[in-house]
């Protein structure tokens, strides 16, 4: 029974994709398209609940083979699912939050062009994401991994008449492919070492891995995770990805897809545990990203971009948690983050919806009276992410920070604490600028401000409730329900009892930090509205650096993008218009080589030239009109290549 339910989970959205994708445009109206879309995800959610209940009851993981995918030689790969507690958490988040976002989208996307297309892509994303978290081996994980990347690409570029959207989509895709290359290499290494790709078999014999090989595999995996989860230095695509519709930002670029990197690291913690170097790297990447992205978030003026940098920063916390061995805390943070970040994005979407598409917070203000429900829910999200108890974000973030402190990672604790202060500050800044103070909207927009329909506010309320109480799944800290549930899979590394006093002290410090950030935001954006500009003017250099995101995009353009394009153009030009100089040099080389062996000169060069001459003669007329002499160049290249090869191979042989 449970096996059947497991198999059904990804099937419902897949059916919806097929139905909507093939016939949605012709056979039924938008109403049926969206009913199919959210209905299928809802069914998946119900199946998930059934499966999770069974895992809870029996306490065992389920492994189900759907069908055999590749086998040949010593390679066997199945499309098979592994549902253990780790997968359960992700399944609940993906289908649960996914369902709410689908429902919300019905209102948000109402009247948009390509309504059916939107839901087709969203469901396709759900299928890929479910494969990603349910697969029992690396190959299925990789398929899901690529699938979510493709859907993310399609959905970022959803408003394809916007040039920026199309560019952002390409950027996301290509940057992710860099990560994928690392991931694929890791898969090859795993196969070479274990002759299988199944998690259970790999982790059962993980002990025989040499430390160097473990480091290599772990670092390759990390490259993949860094790409997908937008960590330094591959973070640049995520803020640009905000060009997509807001539900997409909430579902893909906040709650689910970007946490796939964390899932991968936790899933492979057995390999990471073997390599202190890799663990250290994960922690450094996470810690630095958490702080780095938070600083950029301080000055952004686009409501969704602030949230995007906040996502990058929060993902940094999760990586930091993984890096210091606090896997359960990392997973816990993934879960709470999915609640409050989806809430924040969707409320932001509600704001944008109310303001007819305006995203610049400098043109908002004073909205708390006009859209009260959105305001209240956004505030819940803000308090939750800022880390103020007893809301969800406090418990998970505090656990990561506490773990860092208790296990003597004081530098990471410092990074995280500073990041937490900044997080609280920029989130309250966002709230103040959006909902308080005088209205800075233009008259026309202001007239049309309206609260969103129930189909949008309803999901917001559900997410708001989860953000309020979701943290208690991990209460009391380190011994909560979630911790016991995850204990079999997320290896409780180096647990030692900590005095209640210390725990309470750390909690108080964390709360203090969060309140401090709030206080500063309150001072700057509520009590003393002229101050921010003064401060910005004083620290012009820093302000501009932050505003321009540390110029990382520009740096990549100069270092990577432009040179690659130029090299391509240069090679193209070389291919098409081989200049005389090169040909002459080539000719000289050819002659030099030919002199070495007379037969070559006699036969190859003259023979070649004769053929060329003959050919030219034959078609001289059409020929000259087009590109006279080009064939000479091509032939010269062939000869030059030949001799170069001979020389190089000769050198290799002699060595």
């Amino acid at each position: 029974m449970t096996d059947l339910l497991i198999k059904l989970i990804p099937v419902f959205p897949l059916l919806a994709v097929i139905a909507n994708g093939l016939f949605g445009r012709y056979l039924w109206s938008h109403d049926w398209a969206h009913r199919l879309a959210w209905g299928s995800v809802g069914l998946s959610f119900l199946c998930t609940i059934g499966v999770v209940a069974d895992v809870l009851r029996t306490g065992t993981a389920h492994e189900v083979i759907a069908y055999q995918w590749i086998f040949g030689g010593d390679l066997t790969i199945n499309l098979a699912y592994l549902v253990d507690p780790l997968t359960c958490v992700w399944l609940l988040v993906v289908t649960g939050v996914g369902f709410l976002i689908h429902v919300y989208s019905v209102g948000y996307m109402h009247g948009e062009d390509g309504f059916t297309r939107f839901f087709t892509y969203m469901n396709l994303f759900m299928v890929s994401m479910l494969l990603l978290v349910m697969g029992n081996n690396y190959a299925v994980l990789f398929i899901g991994w690529e699938g979510v990347g493709l859907c993310s690409y399609l959905l970022i570029g959803y408003y394809y008449d916007k040039v920026s959207a199309a560019k952002a989509a390409s950027k996301a895709f290509v940057v992710n492919r860099i990560g994928d290359a690392g991931f694929l290499l890791a898969i090859f290494l795993v196969f070479i070492n274990f002759k299988t790709l199944d998690y259970t078999k790999v982790f059962a014999q993980v002990g025989q891995l040499s430390p160097d090989m473990a480091t290599a595999i772990a670092l390759c995996l990390l490259v993949g995770a860094v790409g997908k989860s937008a960590q330094l230095p591959l973070h640049t695509w995520l803020p640009d990805a905000m060009e997509g519709p807001t539900p997409v930002s909430a579902l893909i670029h906040a709650a689910t897809m970007v946490t796939a990197g964390v899932y991968m690291v936790v899933r492979n913690h057995a390999i990471f545990d073997l390599s202190p170097v890799a663990m250290e790297t994960v922690a450094i990447v996470g810690g630095c990203t958490a702080l780095f992205a938070a600083t950029i978030g301080l000055v952004q003026t686009d409501i969704k971009r602030v949230l995007a940098y906040s996502t990058v920063s929060q993902l940094g916390y999760m990586f930091l948690g993984c890096g210091i061995g606090a896997y359960t805390a990392a997973v816990f943070h993934v879960m709470t983050h999915a609640f409050f970040k989806a809430l924040l994005f969707l409320s932001a979407g509600s704001v944008i919806h109310a303001l007819s598409g305006e995203q610049d917070i400098r043109k908002m203000g004073g909205l708390s009276k006009k859209i009260p429900w959105t305001y209240r829910l956004f505030l819940i999200g803000t308090v939750a992410i800022a880390g103020i108890p007893p809301l969800a974000g406090f418990w998970s973030k505090d656990e990561i920070m506490g773990h860092a402190f208790v296990h003597h990672h004081y530098v990471f604790y410092g990074l995280a604490a500073l990041g937490a202060f900044l997080t609280s500050f920029y989130m309250f800044r966002l709230t103040y600028l959006t909902f308080y103070g005088p209205s800075r909207m233009d008259h026309h927009t202001e007239e049309h401000v309206h609260e969103s329909p129930m189909v949008m506010v309803g999901p917001l309320m559900a997410l708001g409730l989860l953000s309020l109480v979701g943290g208690f799944l991990g209460f009391p800290p380190e011994h909560g329900w979630l911790h016991q549930f995850l204990a079999p899979v997320a290896g409780v590394g180096g647990e030692h009892e900590v005095g209640t006093g210390l725990v309470l002290t750390l909690m108080m410090i964390a709360t203090g930090i969060a309140l401090l950030g709030w206080g500063l935001a309150h001072y700057l954006y509520s009590m003393n509205p002229a101050a921010p500009d003064r401060w910005a003017a004083k620290a012009q250099g820093i302000y501009n650096t932050l505003l321009n995101k540390y110029y990382v995009d520009e740096l990549y353009d100069v270092l990577v993008v432009e040179p690659t394009k130029k090299l391509g153009l240069a090679l193209d030009w070389f291919d098409r218009v081989v200049i005389d100089g090169i040909v002459r040099a080539v000719g000289t080389m050819a002659e030099l080589g030919a002199a070495g062996s007379t037969w070559a000169e006699k036969h190859v060069i003259y023979g070649g030239l004769n053929i060329i001459g003959y050919g030219n003669h034959l078609l001289a007329k059409q020929w000259r009109q087009l590109q006279s002499g080009m064939v000479h160049h091509y032939a010269a290249i062939i000869i030059a290549g030949l001799f170069l090869l001979a020389v190089v191979i000769q050198l290799i042989v002699q060595r």
Binding site: Q68, F71, Y160, S170, F188, Q622, A635, I638, A646
Partner: protein, 495 residues
């Protein structure tokens, strides 16, 4: 006499194809211009017969039969390639039906040339003697030279044909020189004799070095491997699209088949040496093919560079085979090349089929920009193109991923993990130019000032081709096992 009859029986498929080609050329003047499709159906009939003959032997796949005192051999390896070539040729003919009509190239001899080229390819994959292989290569190439120039009203097509002919003749010369040098070494041109004569000699023997490099250049030209690739973009762009598809898929596959056989069966003793040589060629091919493809604006030119790059990926398998430790290492490398080309056939044919039928005011729409907004006007066609591009970029669960997976896996197994990394990086780069086509189709509106909006002209034959191609791309992506085990079973033994 009886043994002669038995020999003829071995090459029966070749005889059928040549016979059908001759028959077509005779029937061509007798067929009224409006009924030229009949000739196409006739050639398809001949192909069906061949598929039956070769496919019937699938149960005795590895039965090795040789004929004409070992000039020709039919083994599992030859059968694998022949089946692939029949399929590709059949799809090309189907694709040509509507294409030739739209281009007003109602030439019956076109189908004759396709069959002649096919017979040349069949000789190539079955040749067990350097000269037999050479003859096959020439038969294939001569037919292709003519086919490239069939669009007589287009200067580009004529240019392509002439260029291809001149450079092709040139490269054939190189191939022949290589063969003659090997004859000097071995005193014979049979692959077995060459292998015996080489024994344990290596590249320190200059004669062998030069002969190997000349052979590599000769075959490298047909495979479009850098630096012997210069003709590819010009010819692919200029030739009629159905011919381009045929060249990009069938000619490449047959050349790879002959190339692998020569280097494995004949020069297997030099594998440590030639794997270095091909490593070098493979690297420059990957770099140049992928980087230059980025800046192309004409889709046929872009696919030409993409085809160069794909030759580079396939070469990885050969390099791995040369380096392969033990028996399985070499075999998995070679099988990965076979698999790669078979899977590559589907996606490339599909992409060219879409391009060929893409009409802009009666002319072909060849610029990538012409695809703007296709997703809105013809969602199904755009989706098919998306599938082909995704597969060419090597993204699961499409066939392209399976092909790359096995090739890279072979490289890692042979201890060439760094090569796999380089190739993976270039595969990542390649996503950029393939996805650009997708982006243009899905995310851009056509320029309103550009005049007539290009449309994809559908027809029943084209539908069959596209259905086969997309089925191949998706089914072999999801169920690659039959093809993988076929490739593994029919792989050449590498000593």
């Amino acid at each position: 006499m009886t043994s002669y009859g038995a020999d003829l029986l071995v090459i029966l498929p070749e005889l059928i194809v040549v016979g059908a080609a001759c028959l077509l050329l005779v029937l061509e003047p007798l067929t009224p211009p409006s009924r030229k499709e009949l000739l196409a159906w006739l050639s398809l009939g001949a192909l069906a017969l061949c598929i039956g003959l070769t496919g019937g032997q699938i149960s005795v796949l590895n039965l090795r039969v040789s004929a004409f005192s070992d000039l020709v051999v039919v083994d599992g390896y030859a059968r694998f390639w022949k089946l692939l070539l029949y399929g590709v040729t059949g799809l090309t003919i189907l694709m040509s039906l509507p294409y030739l009509k739209a281009e007003r190239l109602q030439l019956g001899e076109y189908y004759g040339f396709i069959l002649l080229a096919l017979s040349g390819m069949m000789v190539m994959v079955s040749g067990a003697d350097l000269l037999t292989i050479y003859l096959g290569t020439e038969l294939m190439s001569l037919s292709l030279y003519v086919m490239a120039g069939l669009k007589r009203s287009s200067p580009r097509s004529l240019e392509a044909s002439a260029k291809y002919f001149v450079l092709g003749a040139f490269s054939s010369g190189l191939l022949l020189y290589g063969i003659s040098l090997l004859y000097g070494v071995a005193g014979g041109t049979k692959l077995g004799a060459v292998a015996a004569a080489i024994g344990s000699r290596g590249f320190d023997d200059p004669l062998l070095l030069i002969a190997t490099i000349l052979l590599a250049a000769g075959f490298g030209f047909k495979l479009a491997v850098v630096p012997f690739h210069m003709w590819t973009p010009d010819v692919y762009q200029g030739a009629p699209t159905s011919v381009t598809a045929f060249m990009a898929v069938a000619s490449k596959a047959a050349s790879f088949a002959a190339f692998l056989r020569v280097f494995v069966e004949g020069l297997g003793g030099l594998k440590a040496d030639w794997s270095n040589l091909f490593l070098l060629l493979c690297l420059v091919t990957l770099i140049l093919g992928n980087l230059v493809a980025i800046v192309q604006t004409n889709i046929k030119r872009m696919l030409a560079y993409s085809s160069i790059a794909h030759a580079g990926y396939a070469l990885i398998g050969l390099v791995a085979a040369g380096r392969g430790m033990g028996e399985s290492g070499g075999a998995s490398g070679l099988a990965s090349v076979m698999l790669y080309l078979a899977l590559y056939a589907f996606m490339t044919l599909g992409a060219f089929a879409v391009i060929g039928m893409f009409r802009k005011g009666g002319l072909e729409g060849e610029d990538i920009e012409d695809f703007a907004g296709l997703a809105k006007r013809q969602p199904l066609a755009a989706f098919l193109m998306l599938v082909f591009m995704v597969s060419l970029a090597g993204i699961p669960p499409t066939a392209g991923f399976i092909g790359k997976f096995y090739v890279f896996m072979a490289a890692v197994e042979a201890g060439l993990a760094w090569l796999a990394v380089v190739a993976l990086i270039f595969a990542a780069i390649s996503a950029y130019y393939y996805m650009r086509v997708v982006m243009v189709m899905y995310m851009r509106e056509p320029d309103p000032s550009a005049g007539e909006v290009p449309q994809l002209v559908a027809s029943p034959a084209l539908t069959v081709v596209l259905a086969c191609a997309v089925a191949g791309v998706i089914l072999f992506g999801l169920f690659p096992n039959p093809l993988v085990s076929l490739a593994l079973q029919s792989v050449l033994p590498l000593k």
